[in-house]
Symmetry: C2
Amino acid sequence: MSGTLYGIGLGPGDPELMTLKAYRLISGAEVVAYPALENGESFARAIAADVIPEDAVEVTIHIPMTVERGPAQAAYDQGAADIAEHLDAGRDVVVLCEGDPFFYGSFMYLFARLSGTYETEVVPGVTSVTACAAVSGRPLTARNEVLTIIPGPLDAALMQDRIAAAEAVVIMKVGRHLAKIRKVLDALNLSANAIYVERASLPSQKVLPLKDAPCDAPYFSMILVTKGQDPWLN
Amino acid sequence: MSGTLYGIGLGPGDPELMTLKAYRLISGAEVVAYPALENGESFARAIAADVIPEDAVEVTIHIPMTVERGPAQAAYDQGAADIAEHLDAGRDVVVLCEGDPFFYGSFMYLFARLSGTYETEVVPGVTSVTACAAVSGRPLTARNEVLTIIPGPLDAALMQDRIAAAEAVVIMKVGRHLAKIRKVLDALNLSANAIYVERASLPSQKVLPLKDAPCDAPYFSMILVTKGQDPWLN
């Protein structure tokens, strides 16, 4: 009988924001898989480091950071094959995912390759979106507000259209797109309402008005924008 | 010295989807507060029931289910006053919140009344959005997709505009708005792509194509819509 594939959301970075279910599955795991940069660094593994059993087999999926998709997809092919070998041998495999597996997560690439063949369970996690809101001092959405979540790499004109039509806005994966995003928010006269949050829930966390955001924003940073007058106050 | 106010996200319903931090704070709590219906039922308390210490003081905030906001706001005034009494006496107060406190959560009303005076910490939780995606068998968002989250009570014409302009769509708090939402999705020719999820992560969970959704959808139900051809497959 084949093993089960688990895609496990680890939350935004603070290991204490892992769910009880994630903790149980990881601490009992025989095989633990995770994506890593080419230099071996893995944010997902770092979050779960204290929970992974010493004798667990670890499967590292090295993801090349190229613009073309081919090399990364080849890495997921290889990772899926490595994981399938364990599943075929009847061993469950726990895949570590920062945040939530199905929310802009790379787990989807393994899911696409393996879930048709093997029993698969996705364990949701706390996303960086609500982790950033929690430290921003301002509710994300109230009542009947529409929330629009926008990836930072989006084209500037499209981003401007989306934000113009939105009520509450979250811009994720800011990183090197910060200058573009500033221009878009300035054009919409929304910069004064924008909060910048970097590495929410980690010791290095920063929460700043957008105007004070550092020029070298990391990939794990986010901008929260509200329009209107704090509808949650009444 | 005053106590600290904690707004604690409990996740979508399965107690095992509570974070380790929520578990620690609740299991060590002296005072636990939560919203409840007028009949005393509290979904938040039900999620945390096995973790609340037997000798904890419980503060129940009875929220009248009226269309006018006045009675509910008066209930939050009273709840905030009850909580403030404990904080003034130096006792920390843990407020239980289903899902995440700042994501369409009623905790915002206590936050507005108390966070200016008392030290306040918000502990994010797993939202029903990613919990529904986890069981839907389909990633919520990939790559540079914009995600639009829409509350079910939104006006039909406005809802249609928002969905027309969106890529991935989540419609929350479906309940008695199901018939209206069906019409909107039919008009946009998106019903075939829609998945209905009810009470994700609970034993009574249902996951169905929208066409098979029950007519009496509960408040805790959601519809997930994707456009396009599963961009996560490659």
